[in-house]
């Protein structure tokens, strides 16, 4: 094609959507490049503090606050953590989060199922009150909790803290799972009943497997909420049940702040959250109910 014919053909080609050479990329494509650049900038801005913390954790303890760009990465800060009480606190955190997650699921999942499937008087109000438990500011609850716990002897215990976390996680479970259960067509359960399932069996063999991705996502949220709790753990634990986030504050001492340990502990506390967030993403995008019904 000569330049002349190319010029002549351009309007036509543009109209039929074919682009002769040397033409600028279509507008949506240019647009996308801009979007990508913006997203990247935003990502860097968000990740910067975390990156900063991780590099601090990897510096030799003496020069944690050094601005030098080049340094010899070392695990000394992590080793120092390992020597102290931090592993115990980390274990406490794992225990509290797992326990409270398991308990909230055990109580919240059946509750959500009943609230979704059974029509009874006051159903909407019950569901709302369950959500309302999550709205109360923690500070309004801590003093009663503290006094009650001192009375029953649950303060500074893993089980006690797990129970508190369960109280605010149950509402999450109930509300998340209601949505997931509602998305499962009732006729699948009815088919199961006719095939010979009781109500419980239909739930276990049909409804629950179909809600599994939602269940996994909910579990991860519960775990993370419990894992991230600082407030209740700070007030309701003293020594034996201290969790990782609270333990970090112990490095902020009167004699000086142990920045290396703080950064290392912060990095460790962040890891499970990161791992679970990636997991939850995978589960949330997966749809399982495709193809069961005619549409």
């Amino acid at each position: 094609m000569t330049d002349a014919t190319r010029a002549a053909a351009a309007p036509l080609l543009a109209r039929i959507g074919a682009w002769p050479g040397r033409v600028r990329p279509p507008r949506w494509r240019r647009h996308r490049i801009g979007l990508h650049a913006a997203a990247l900038a935003l990502l860097l801005a968000v990740l910067f503090p975390f990156g900063w913390m991780v590099q601090m954790a990897l510096r030799p303890p003496g020069e944690v606050l050094d601005g030098a760009l080049l340094f010899q990465p070392t695990l000394e800060n992590f080793a120092a953590l390992w020597q102290g009480h931090f592993p115990k606190s980390f274990l406490n955190s794992v225990l509290v989060s797992s326990l409270s997650t398991a308990a909230s699921l055990a109580l919240g999942v059946p509750a959500a199922y009943v609230l979704t499937r059974w029509r009874f008087r006051g159903r909407g109000r019950v569901a709302l009150w369950i959500l309302a438990t999550r709205m109360a500011p923690p500070i309004a609850l801590t003093i009663p909790f503290f006094l009650a716990y001192r009375w029953v002897g649950l303060q500074d215990s893993v089980v006690g803290l797990a129970l508190i976390h369960m109280t605010f996680n149950i509402s999450i479970v109930v509300w998340f799972m209601q949505t997931f259960f509602a998305a499962i067509p009732r006729s699948l359960e009815e088919a199961a009943w006719i095939d010979g399932c009781g109500v419980w069996q239909a739930f276990r063999r049909v409804t629950l497997p179909l809600a599994a991705p939602g269940l996994a996502a909910t579990a991860v949220f519960c775990f993370i909420f419990s894992w991230n709790d600082f407030f209740f753990a700070l007030i309701l634990t003293r020594t034996s049940a201290v969790t990782a986030p609270v333990a970090i504050t112990n490095f902020l001492q009167y004699e000086g702040w142990e920045w290396g340990k703080i950064a290392a502990a912060g990095t460790l506390v962040m890891l499970p959250v990161l791992a679970f967030t990636l997991l939850v993403r995978k589960y949330l995008v997966r749809g399982l109910t495709a193809g069961g019904l005619k549409d």
Binding site: P185, S187, L188, E190, A191, A192, W193, I194, D195, G196, C197, G198, Q201, V206, P209, L210, L288, T289, A290, G291, G292, L293, K294
Partner: protein
Amino acid sequence: MASVTIRDLRKSYGSTPVLHGVSIDIADGEFVALVGPSGCGKSTLLRMIAGLEEAGEGEIRIGGRLVNDVPPKDRDIAMVFQNYALYPHMTVARNLGFALTLKGVDRVEIAARVARAAEVLGLSALLDRRPGQLSGGQRQRVAMGRAIVRNPLLFLFDEPLSNLDAKLRVQMRAEIKALHQRLRTSAIYVTHDQIEAMTMADRIVVMRDGRVEQAGAPLDLYDRPANRFVAGFIGSPAMNFLSGRIAVNGGASFHLDGGGPSLPLAAVPPGAHGRPAVLGLRPEHALIDPEAEAALEVTVVEPTGSETQVVGQLAGQPFVGVFRERVAARPGDVLPLRLPPAAAHLFDAGDGQRLV
């Protein structure tokens, strides 16, 4: 196999009554089609028989046993849902065998029965797929298969063929029919396709607004509909209804409201002279006869090859005729029609009940 007896069944959703006292008897091994317009309560009735809907008033007996308060799992019935309701997380094989697994049938036996059902329904190659990987017709057959592996007391079908294409529908119709002839399990088949009902059922139950309008053998319903509704519902194209008056002087005849010639009648109820009534005549019973006095003013001619459908006006009232011969008429023409008295039905002008 079992008989089913339904006595005076009533059901309301809140304050809206849906079934107003339905009574149906289904003999052991009978195939009954339940037909009626959309929203008349067919699915509701079926779901009550299955136990999915709480029984209101009345009785449901399966094989003589009162099942009003028996949960679905203990009724030993199989149901094919209007929307298939296949378990999306199970393979076709597991879908088919689920009921047997629950019953604790041993695995070898389950595999054998699933294989047999799959063979009958042409699903053998698909056993390892999940419902999401099947076409609509294949899903439909899995839904059917899930019912037949079980050997239940009763089959319930809720419009199982409603979203298949015409050809597959005819094919599945024949398959279901053959299946029933082999298994001889009582079945209730909901459909609003009256051809399906006519061709498959031993008996048809016609419902409207939560009531049974008529129950009987397909040809009985066709030949002697109990009222105007059934007459219009069974048969395609639908029966023509011409309003007018009965006259008895010597022989009985029918005077159309729009004037025109009077039509002879075969029989009338006693004392019917002057009584307003509706004359029903099926499109396929009208005959073209140059000697005849009734004149159809043609508006549309629809040849289908095997027959010709002519739509028009008879004494100002809409009328459709279906003829086996090719009709050369064009819109605007006048077609002389003979309406054989023996084929005519007379209905009350008010409540639509059959007069003779």
